[in-house]
């Protein structure tokens, strides 16, 4: 069950993008969804001064976290421990998977019900558990749908946004016993509810993500609309929460502005149906809630990102998805084209840093730098600046050590071409020679020439004029002065 492991998926954004662009159903599904999300968000932030001050407050809250990250992580750990929540640290994904497996095995758990968690997608946790005989069932409706289809999420907030009603109706008719084909959304939703109710009741453990962990009080904050997150963290006797080491807030006073930014940016809602704040396991005398709560803090490359004070701002992200909703690239190619867990603009800066420029180095180039993502980001991540920086890092001589796989895209031919370019623009004689050469022989260059091919494969080769502007001007009697 679940998506095929990432290692089996084709690697290259550049190869996958044209396939997605030629899929009219996919294009229509994304266009409709993105248009809706953009207009709903715009309505929420129509008051520009209010948006500016709220956003400045939210950005400062996350910047304060990054300025004090190691100390806040220790404070969170202390508070959680005092509250009875067990805290685990994982440097790598295999370590995190081993921690979760060990907790589940110790509890004798066989079935797990899951709330939505992007970190668990990063970990490919479901596969890992299945390999050890533990079944993990996704309970967020969108995640449940793609788990039935054996696919990966295509959006970090709305995981099955790439599917339309008819596709989901066919899937449910095939996979849910007793349900015929219906495109009635209420009937489809009711069928999922009925299927999952029993799973919740039978689950030995619940696994969730974390939207904000409050260092001041040791509180785990989860936002959601469906109630599956509350069920996963309340009904089973054991709850395991997974979070990246950056998803903190310093104190409770930082929570209201961030809660005002997250759902409005994500789906254009004032607030999600549920804001679930968990501070303790079940205490003596209480009648429900898990007896045991565990928090797994995952690094997996984040502390390396933190090591560079420009790239660090990537870690402010609160995972609202507004950047992808507004991205002219994402909205046309969809989430699966990015292959990795985080698609769209945030993925284009996060993935190459976590996975390395050697395997995701084409992603920072999949952008026109139009700045739409920067304008809507509720915590002011300078995405475009970081994209440019990553492009530089990907061709840095010797690789550098700022980003894993730095220098991986450096090629001798491209380096030579840029040297020539520099010469042409710094030496007048070289510029004159190049202009004379291009006007006379430029049109003889074959389209398939390396470097030129990258341009001409998707565009008409430009025609060079027979004479340069300078030559034409001189003929008209203008002189250099």
């Amino acid at each position: 069950m679940g998506a095929e492991p990432r290692a089996a998926v084709g690697n290259d954004f550049t190869v996958r993008a044209p396939q997605a662009l030629n899929d009219p159903t996919l294009r229509a599904n994304f266009r409709r969804a993105m248009d809706g999300l953009m207009s709903k968000r715009a309505a929420q932030f129509a008051d520009k001064p209010a948006w500016d001050s709220l956003r400045a407050r939210g950005a400062a809250a996350k910047a304060r976290v990054l300025a004090q990250l190691p100390a806040l992580l220790e404070r969170l750990e202390d508070k959680c421990r005092a509250n009875g929540i067990t805290v685990h640290w994982a440097e790598t994904i295999p370590e995190a998977n081993a921690i979760v497996l060990e907790i589940l095995q110790k509890a004798g758990a066989r079935t797990v019900i899951k709330g939505k968690s992007m970190v668990s997608e990063e970990m490919e946790l479901n596969h890992h558990l299945a390999a050890h005989g533990i079944q993990a069932v996704e309970s967020d409706l969108g995640e449940y749908i793609i788990q039935l289809a054996g696919e990966a999420p295509s959006h970090i907030v709305m995981p099955c946004i790439h599917k339309n009603k008819a596709e989901i109706a066919r899937l449910f008719a095939e996979r849910i016993p007793g349900l015929g084909y219906t495109e009635d959304v209420d009937a489809l939703t009711a069928a999922a509810r009925a299927e999952l109710r029993g799973r919740f009741a039978a689950a030995d453990a619940g696994i969730s993500g974390v939207n904000f962990a409050v260092a001041e009080t040791g509180t785990l904050v989860l936002v959601e609309n469906e109630g599956n997150g509350r069920l996963s963290t309340t009904l089973p006797p054991l709850h395991i929460a997974l979070m990246g080491i950056e998803k903190l807030v310093e104190s409770l006073e930082d929570l209201p502005p961030l809660l005002a930014l997250l759902p409005r940016s994500a789906t254009g809602q004032h607030i999600t149906t549920y804001v679930n704040m968990i501070t303790h396991p079940r205490r003596a005398g209480e009648l429900d809630g898990p007896e045991e709560v565990h928090l797994v803090l995952l690094d997996s490359g984040r502390s390396r990102v933190y090591g560079d004070d420009q790239l660090r701002d990537t870690l402010r992200c609160i995972r609202c998805g507004a950047c992808m909703n507004h991205c002219p690239v994402y909205s046309r190619v969809g989430g699966h084209t990015y292959k990795f867990v985080y698609p769209g603009p945030i993925g284009k800066i996060l993935t190459p840093q976590l996975e390395g420029l050697d395997c995701a180095g084409d992603q920072p180039h999949a952008s026109t730098l139009c700045n739409a993502c920067v304008e809507v980001c509720p915590v002011k991540i300078p995405i475009a600046d970081i994209l440019v920086r990553l492009r530089e890092e990907s061709v840095r001589p010797g690789g550098g050590d700022a980003v894993k796989g730095g220098g991986a895209r450096r090629s001798a031919l491209e380096t030579l071409s840029w040297r020539a370019w520099m010469l042409i623009y710094s030496r007048p004689w070289a510029g004159r020679l190049a202009a004379w050469g291009m006007t006379r022989f430029g049109n003889l260059l074959p389209e398939r020439l390396p470097l030129l091919k990258a341009w001409t494969s998707v565009r008409t080769k430009p025609r060079f004029a027979a004479k340069s502007l300078h030559e034409l001007a001189r003929e008209q009697g203008y002189c250099d002065e």
Partner: protein, 217 residues
């Protein structure tokens, strides 16, 4: 695993420090006299129903409203004020819905709660006008699942506990001084838009949310 902790913290500490910015001014909205109006409008916009009543009248009114909906099995917390009042008002009434007490650990009540009760009645600790939210701090008398498993959640709220915003509530009630096991903001019934951005209610939690506001409290 202790290595992981030490290694992560060491890498973070070795990184260049970034400046600690101040928190810029931000004023959450306030609604003055129109607080209740705002609360009602916002909750209404997310499919919640608000009915004004009084401390003396609500159990009778609820009985009528549930009869209209055909609800026969109601989960309540007999040890809570709201539950106790409901118990007193309905036990003498042979036609009232059956009251199912949440008085044992969930493990002993799972089948009933997951599949059988039709409504759950809880109190509300505070309300938030800005977003039309109910704040619940579930406890032994009114456990967490009461507001989640039954298809209808009935919430009883005194008009006086309404705040303008979450920021105001957190500051004035001193939340930082001590958080309960579980604190909840509830804004409307359970919903999803995962299928083609079409709203559907009651996907996992309640399909309906009925808020009884006690105007005299």
């Amino acid at each position: 695993m202790s290595d992981a902790r030490a290694n992560i913290l060491a890498r973070l500490r070795a990184a260049p420090r970034s400046p600690l910015p101040d928190r810029p001014d931000w004023t959450p909205p306030a609604f003055g006299e129109s607080r209740l109006e705002r609360f009602r409008a916002m909750l209404g916009s997310v499919h919640g129903e608000v009915v004004e009543t009084t401390l003396a009248a609500w159990p009778g009114l609820l009985r009528t409203l549930l009869a209209e909906r055909g609800v026969r099995r109601v989960l309540y917390g007999p040890a809570a004020d709201v539950g106790a009042q409901l118990g007193r008002a309905w036990t003498a009434d042979g036609d009232a819905p059956t009251l199912v007490p949440y008085d044992r650990p969930i493990e002993a009540l799972k089948a009933e709660l997951v599949h059988s009760v039709e409504a759950g009645v809880t109190s509300v600790r505070w309300g938030i006008a800005e977003t039309g939210s109910l704040v619940l701090w579930p406890d032994a008398a009114e456990p967490r699942l009461m507001s989640l498993l039954p298809p209808l959640h009935v919430a009883v709220m005194a008009a006086s506990v309404l705040y303008d915003s979450l920021a105001q509530l957190v500051a004035e009630q001193g939340w930082a001084g001590g958080m309960p096991t579980n604190a909840l903001l509830i804004s409307g019934p359970s919903k999803t838009a995962d299928i083609e951005q079409t709203l559907a209610y009651g996907v996992h939690g309640p399909k309906d949310l009925l808020v009884l506001v006690l105007a005299d409290q």
